[in-house]
Symmetry: C2
Subunit: 159 residues, 2 copies
Amino acid sequence: MTTTETTVKMILDRWNASIKNFGDLLNSLTDEQLQKEIAPKRNRGVYLIGHLIAVHDLMIPLLDMGEKLYPNLQQSFFELPDKAVAEIPSAKELRECWIKHCEWLRQKFESLKPEQWFDKHTVVSDEDFAKEPHRNKLNIIVTRTSHLQYHTGQFVLLK
Amino acid sequence: MTTTETTVKMILDRWNASIKNFGDLLNSLTDEQLQKEIAPKRNRGVYLIGHLIAVHDLMIPLLDMGEKLYPNLQQSFFELPDKAVAEIPSAKELRECWIKHCEWLRQKFESLKPEQWFDKHTVVSDEDFAKEPHRNKLNIIVTRTSHLQYHTGQFVLLK
């Protein structure tokens, strides 16, 4: 196994385990629990699910994998805070989006060769990337795994 | 920059940014706020600080860098849940431990050459490591960064 292969495995394993952990938690909660706030006057469970899908959706163009799957979620779950928009998708709809989104990403991620993860992402110029090779696609997964874990620590409070 | 150097930079950058983020949050909270629970009937702020120090302390022997700095914190903050032990260190003492511990780890981490991060950690056998080279020291940082982020998402609720 090369260093490149080992590295990609480490980082994708952590991403996949974090996705599974959040998904297991989601399955363990009822739709009613998802309507609750994680703590008094804080985000609701449904907001956190939508927020994670919206953030993961933004990775798609960043990783040069195409267009966002659910651009309609950006305003309610990324640009605006919870409760700013009166009508948001139901818990049932958000559960379906979560599952489809995770599966879509899984297939795309598996199609990349290990060395392709070290290619630049789409918002860094060739010139900057030559000087800063850590601004690659794999680093997007590193930072988004952190983000997912941060909100999973909050989501678990609904249990 | 080699792939090894790029990878180590990506993962240590994420660890260092996560440590800084938690430290900045800690500095923004009063000792009184740290005595509060992150949500009703959940862990207190002081417990989370002690828990993170205890978990980071367990990394030291795992990374073959010596002995734990604060073994006395293991029982109250790792083996037992919050409020199981009546007397725990004060918020002031925990703040000092946090700062010293982060600085100690920072110096140790900087002293390792990039390729040394791909050496095996201490609880995997040579035989297993030959088959599973991802069970290296750097992967300990990957998983502990996830853990730190998970609890940071909770700690921020004290604000």
